[in-house]
């Protein structure tokens, strides 16, 4: 849970219709719901209960009520008594508590924090097992309830741009929005005119405070974009293929013409990594401290930035890799290929985990949703497809007139797609069929980099003519987790976070398609496990050592002698085996005999009840 919650701005604006030239005040009125309080809900419920008593109205079942309805009558009475006692208890001031008991948690919020279903209790259990299960259930229930209760601390809600009747939100220009919103928000729409070294790739840091832009012709700059403070600006004098922030804003990686370079925020070159050549695209896995690179030589490589070692290099054997994205939920790398397939990779397997055929033409861009549920792809066949990446099933397919060259998904699930110099933003591409974009904007050159800023309603667009920061209401997550990514953190806090993050670093071995797999019992057979062991050790620990006869002098190591000795040993071994087998056989035989004897004995014994037998 986040410990600190800052007010985060949201836009819920109603835009003026196109025929109105001026923007009136009423259009920009901020619709803000008052924060909900639990007693209000209580009140509502009470009202609803009354309604239900009158014979109408469906009330939402709360947990306590559900519990009550489940429990037998006796318990109910007891519970009531307890509650009465509570009510009788008065404060020193002599007034009774108007809201006795614990605050109720709405069912939907509880559902949000549910982790798997409870298991059914088998009829008979060992008492130890029973207590253990009961305790674990209790703990997980408590965790769930507490989390649901603390969800109250995430009060901010995101809003969207709402058009008037008959007005398309996609026709609202950025200037209008920037003028309508407050000054600080309006200042977030800006344009950097850098026409000389474009087109630009961009990347926002994890907290959303810092922006990194890298021009194709070698211009690299990092900017604290909110204060417009230029942290560093260099020209690497080489073509730049991609740029990426590493774990914090103090370091970034630049994929240059030949090698991969790491610079610090002052523009000082820290490393030139010769093992990573011809890198085209990069992805950084923040919780694993892994920098995944895809090269034109079809190599997918992982660099552990915490220790500076290459974890693995996988030859994907699929040609040039210039389409790449990561699944933020399970740290799986998705690669798009010219033959229309998308492959999923983990550092633990030399072959693709999954290979999906997505497009008839080449895949041009990929994006995976924050929760790891949906994947959006665009291809040369000018289609935009949405997949359920958990089941690998296509959900929606759209036809974009010119195809999308760049895709990006925001934290709240807005999709931005760039076609040529037009940047379009779509809402809810997976659930409802979309016919027109939510927003559209024309930039001054072909778009090359597209990225939503985390925790801000901002979309960064890198293009031929520089960089444009767009305002996209409803894009960013309004509540941030200050322990994870705090946009307002100080240098000290950053240092502490860094130490903590390093301590909590997830090892690359744990990357798998299903992140919950770690909590499962390994059901592999002994053979499989043994295979794994052999693979890990490089030899078979259970294998019998081959007999190598000792060299003896005086002609005793002649070929015949050696062969003889070998035979002797082999025979001895075989005898052992045979002896063992015989012993086993004898034992089983004995057992069988014993059994039979017992049976006969049982049969011979006359029971008192035998006379009733027919």
């Amino acid at each position: 849970m986040s410990s600190r919650h800052k007010h985060h701005q949201t836009y819920t604006t109603k835009m003026a219709s196109p025929d109105e030239s001026t923007v009136s005040v009423s259009h920009v009125g901020k619709k803000k719901k008052a924060p909900s309080r639990y007693w209000q809900e209580l009140q509502k419920e009470k009202d609803e209960a009354k309604d239900a008593g009158a014979g109408e109205g469906n009330k939402e079942p709360t947990t306590e009520e559900a519990e009550e309805s489940n429990t037998p009558k006796q318990k109910k009475r007891k519970f009531k008594e307890k509650r009465d006692q509570n009510q009788d208890k008065k404060c020193i001031s002599g007034k009774s508590d108007p809201f006795p008991g614990k605050a109720r948690i709405p069912e939907d919020r509880l559902q949000k924090f549910k982790r798997k279903e409870k298991i059914k209790k088998p009829p008979h259990q060992h008492y130890k097992l029973r207590t253990m299960i009961a305790r674990s259930e209790e703990a997980s229930e408590m965790a769930q309830k507490q989390a649901a209760r603390f969800d109250l601390l995430l009060p901010e809600e995101a809003g969207f741009l709402e058009g008037d009747e008959g007005e398309d939100t996609c026709l609202v220009s950025q200037e209008d929005i920037a003028n309508a919103v407050d000054i600080t928000s309006g200042a977030k729409h800006f344009h950097l005119k850098l026409s000389q070294f474009g087109p630009y790739r961009i990347d926002y840091s994890k907290t959303g405070r810092h922006l990194l832009i890298g021009g194709r012709k070698g211009h690299v700059a990092c900017i604290d974009w909110q204060s417009k403070h230029l942290m560093c600006e260099i020209n690497v004098m080489e073509s730049v293929n991609d740029i990426k922030w590493l774990h914090s804003e103090s370091m970034y990686a630049v994929a240059q013409k030949k090698w991969l370079y790491v610079y610090d925020s002052n523009g000082i070159e820290l490393h030139c990594i010769r093992k990573f050549n011809d890198v085209l695209r990069m992805q950084f896995l923040p919780y694993h401290f892994l920098l995944a690179t895809a090269s034109s030589t079809s190599f997918l490589q992982y660099l552990d930035v915490s220790v500076g070692k290459e974890v693995v290099a996988i030859n994907t054997k699929t040609g040039r890799l210039d389409v790449m994205c990561q699944n933020p939920q399970n740290a799986i790398i998705h690669l798009g290929h010219p033959n229309g397939t998308v492959t999923l990779w983990s550092p633990n397997q030399k072959e693709a985990l999954v290979k999906m055929l997505c497009h008839q033409g080449a895949v041009r861009s990929l994006a995976v949703e924050k929760n790891g549920t949906y994947m959006v792809t665009s291809g040369m066949d000018k289609k935009l497809k949405v997949y359920d990446i958990r089941a690998f099933k296509p959900l929606k397919s759209y036809f974009l007139p010119a195809g999308a060259s760049c895709l990006s998904l925001s934290q709240r699930g807005l999709l931005s797609a760039a076609t040529g110099d037009i940047v379009q933003v779509y809402r809810d591409v997976w659930s409802t069929p979309v016919t027109k974009p939510y927003m559209a904007h024309r930039v001054r050159g072909t778009v090359w980099g597209l990225h939503f800023c985390p925790f801000e309603d901002v979309l960064g667009v890198g293009h031929q003519d520089g960089f444009t920061s767009m305002l996209v209401p409803g894009a960013g997550e309004p509540n941030f987790d200050a322990l994870d990514a705090n946009p307002f953190r100080s240098a000290k806090q950053r240092q502490e976070w860094e130490v903590k993050a390093l301590l909590e670093k997830i090892q690359p071995e744990l990357i798998s398609l299903d992140p919950t797999e770690l909590g499962h019992v390994d059901r592999a057979t002994f053979e499989q496990k043994h295979e794994d062991r052999v693979k890990a050790l490089g030899f078979d620990p259970l294998a019998k050592v081959k007999f190598i006869p000792k060299f003896k002098k005086k002609g005793r190591s002649s070929a015949g002698h050696v062969e003889k000795r070998k035979k002797q040993v082999a025979h001895e071994d075989q005898r052992d085996i045979i002896r063992k087998a015989m012993e086993d056989k004898r034992k089983t035989e004995e057992e069988r005999k014993n059994k039979e004897q017992k049976k006969t004995l049982m049969l011979s014994q006359k029971s008192a009840l035998d006379r009733f037998k027919k």
Binding site: I92, G94, R149, L192, Q196, I234, V354, K436, W448, Q464
Partner: protein
């Protein structure tokens, strides 16, 4: 028998003699008998000795005794035992024995039972041990419930009966408190006499009534008052804190002076109103003065002063500092002169003129004010001297003048203070002002600033200087034109005829369509997709084309792209082959993929091993095949593979490889009490860490099994504790909290069955 009397006498005598003789004879006889007996015994002994018997004969009492003890009964015959019957017989006949006893004796005679032999030592010890064990077992078994409970409990806290830490509720403290001292007892008596609450209610009835009596308005007023008082206090405190922090010496000097003066004034007033208090104050002052005189402070005798003294010749500042020290000393050691002290002095002087007051040793400023040497001043400037004169309480004659001067001085001081205040305020204003100014300027210069920043961004301070200059010029000169930049020309790919040919024809078709946004979608999705759905189920080779060309919704974009996509084209390194492949994509993509999938499936299938050796058991050679019977016989059949994960997903190949690296971190075997995987997996489904849980949950989840308090002695559980526990359990009528529903149900069932 001869004569009567004498005869009688004689006879008597004779009789007597005879008697005596008889007796003698008897005795003799007896003696003979005894002799015989002894002889006989000796004989017997001899005979027995001859026989060699080792047994000692029973000793026999043989002394003559008048009375024979009934306890020492001897049998009649030799070596005969005393029989009970012999004894009883005697009892039977004697009438002294009651009939009841007689009956009992008869019964005893009739019963033939013999009394059992007593147990051997070992056996008796064993019996005792057994008994002791049983007792101990019963004793120990009383603890059984506690032990099981402790074993099963989630957490144990030691020491056992510790007071809960933290603040207790007031009610508990009040009720739990006992009267201990006699004073307390008295107080309690008083309280109880006045019907004050002693125990349970925290508020007395009167207090409650008063609480109720206070109206809302009153309460509000009261609250406001309190608020105001608090605020004032806080202001005062803040002010004091601020003033204390001021470092200016001058300020403090002035302040001190003002304070002193104020104090003197107050003191004078006090003399009139509260002489006792004044006297006390005076004493205090005197004490302070004494202390000052005793110490070496401000005497210019320290290290610092010595160092200053060296410098004093040349340095004005050092001189002044030393002067100041001395002045301070003088001030502090000066006698306080007030009307009261004057009076006292006078009185003192009057009462005992011989006794000299101790201040005679002091430099007396009032008397020899004109002589600076006498006042202990080293080198006072005339002006300084004057001032010091002014400070000193002056004689009455000069009083008016002094007062005037003092007033003047006070004015000066006030002015100084005011000056300080004013300066401070000014500073505060200045501090506030720039912020506002900056904000204002920000607001005004917002866009301009941006422009500047953009300019700044476009300026390169890096290596590329020449180009940067050119860029600057360009940025300055051209506002809209971006195409004029000389470097850009190469980046935009100009479409050649060949390229257009390479691209699929629909691209060309669709370009105009995209330019007219409201137009209906031209390209309808092929309808085959929906048709094929029904038959898809059982087909093995699903037509992937159908899956791929799913119903595609056309999206209309209001803005038409004016630039062609150069992103891909700008990659100079993109080889021609790839380009062509991209262009002709869709032709054999699906077939390729299906082939790939089939290959994978086949590779994963378990292979049948044929172990037939041609030529064994039959003729072999060229052109001869082993018989089909034999081949069937030697073919090792393998169990069919599990269904593939991508069985029902035509467009997906899922790798069936096992993730060995992860399995190293997984639980490999089901832990003890769990009976199946699902149970264990559900038990570990909730993460424990702080990243996923609230603080309270983490505490609960990672609770230690045993909790001990540092530095305390953990005593073993006493019997009383046990008894208390049991009593509390019985009193509550509650069952064991650890008992689960099942147990309860079982218990209920048991009861039920008993009834039946």
């Amino acid at each position: 028998m001869e004569s009567e009397d004498p005869e009688m006498e004689r006879e008597d005598a004779e009789n007597e003699r005879e008697d005596a003789e008889n007796e003698r004879e008897d005795a003799e006889n007896e003696r003979e008998d005894e002799e015989d007996e002894r002889r006989r015994l000796k004989l017997v002994e001899a005979i027995t000795a001859l026989r060699g018997g080792r047994k000692k004969p029973l000793g026999e009492r043989s002394e003559a005794a008048v009375r024979v003890s009934e306890f020492a009964v001897t049998a009649e015959g030799e070596r005969q035992k005393v029989q009970l019957s012999d004894l009883i017989e005697g009892a039977q006949q004697s009438p002294a024995v009651p009939t009841q006893t007689r009956k009992q004796l008869q019964n005893l005679r009739r019963s033939q039972k013999t009394v059992e032999q007593p147990l051997s030592r070992q056996e008796s010890e064993r019996v005792q041990r057994d008994l002791a064990f049983q007792k101990a077992a019963v004793h120990v078994s009383r603890w059984k419930s506690v032990v099981t409970q402790n074993r099963r409990s989630e957490q144990l806290v030691f020491p056992l009966n510790q007071e809960p830490s933290g603040p207790k509720p007031l009610e508990k403290v009040v009720t739990g408190w006992r009267v201990q001292t006699p004073l307390e007892q008295e107080v309690f008596n008083l309280l109880s006499a006045n019907k004050q609450p002693i125990h349970n209610p925290v508020l007395s009835p009167a207090e409650e009534a008063s609480l109720r009596a206070m109206s809302l308005e009153e309460a509000q007023i009261r609250r406001a008052e309190l608020q105001k008082a608090r605020a004032l206090q806080s202001y005062y405190e803040a002010k004091a804190r601020r003033e204390r922090k001021i470092k200016s010496k001058k300020y403090h000097r002035v302040q001190n002076k003002a304070r002193r003066k104020e104090f003197l004034k107050q003191f004078d007033q006090m003399v009139k109103t509260d002489p006792n208090g004044a006297l006390e104050e005076l004493n205090k002052m005197e004490l302070a003065r004494m202390k000052e005189r005793m110490s070496l402070k401000h005497q210019n005798s320290g290290k610092w002063a010595r160092s200053k003294a060296i410098m004093a010749k040349y340095d004005e500042g050092a001189r002044r500092a030393m002067q100041q020290q001395l002045e301070l000393n003088k001030d502090l050691t000066q006698k306080v002169r007030s009307s009261l002290s004057n009076q006292e002095e006078q009185e003192d002087g009057a009462s005992d003129p011989e006794l000299l007051p101790d201040f005679v040793n002091d430099a007396e400023p009032g008397q020899v004010s004109s002589n600076p040497w006498m006042r202990g001043e080293l080198s006072a400037e005339p002006a300084d001297a004057q001032r010091s004169e002014q400070e000193v309480a002056a004689p009455a004659a000069e009083k008016e003048q002094h007062e005037e001067e003092e007033e003047k001085e006070a004015d000066e001081e006030q002015a100084l203070l005011r000056d300080f205040e004013g300066r401070r305020k000014l500073r505060q204003k200045e501090e506030e002002a720039p912020g506002q100014d900056v904000e204002d300027s920000d607001e005004e210069e917002g866009p301009a600033d941006q422009d500047q920043e953009e300019e700044g961004l476009s300026e390169f301070r890096s290596l590329f200087r020449g180009v940067a200059e050119g860029l600057k010029e360009a940025a300055a000169a051209s506002t809209a034109g971006c195409s004029s930049a000389p470097l850009e020309g190469g980046l935009i790919r100009i479409r050649t005829v060949e390229d257009a040919e390479l691209l699929p024809p629909e691209d060309v078709e669709l370009l105009p369509c995209s330019e007219s946004p409201p137009s209906a979608p031209q390209e309808e999705a092929p309808p085959t997709g929906q048709k094929a759905r029904g038959s898809k189920k059982r087909k093995r080779n699903i037509e992937l084309k159908e899956v791929l060309t799913k119903d595609a919704k056309t999206v209309t974009v209001p803005l038409a792209p004016t630039l062609t996509d150069t992103a891909d084209g700008s990659d100079e390194e993109l080889d021609q082959r790839g380009l062509i492949m991209e262009a002709f994509a869709g032709d054999d993509v699906i077939a390729d993929f299906l082939r790939d999938k089939r290959k994978q499936e086949d590779a994963a299938k378990p292979k049948v091993v044929d172990l037939t050796l041609p030529g064994w058991g039959e003729w072999g050679g060229q052109g001869l095949k082993p018989s089909s019977r034999k081949r069937r016989r030697f073919r090792v059949k393998v169990a069919p593979a599990e269904p593939r994960k991508d069985q029902r997903l035509p467009g997906v190949i899922i790798s069936e490889q096992r993730n060995g690296s992860l399995s190293a971190h997984q639980v490999s075997a089901l832990p003890f009490p769990y009976e199946n995987h699902a149970q264990f997996e559900s038990a570990v489904r909730t993460p424990l860490g702080r990243t996923w849980n609230t603080e309270r949950t983490v505490k609960k989840l990672t609770m230690p099994k045993v909790l001990t308090q540092l530095g305390t002695i953990i005593q073993p559980m006493t019997e009383e504790e046990l008894a208390r526990k049991k009593a509390s359990a019985a009193g509550a009528g509650k069952e064991d909290p650890h008992k689960t529903k099942d147990q309860k149900r079982r218990a209920r069932k048991g009861r039920h069955s008993q009834k039946i």
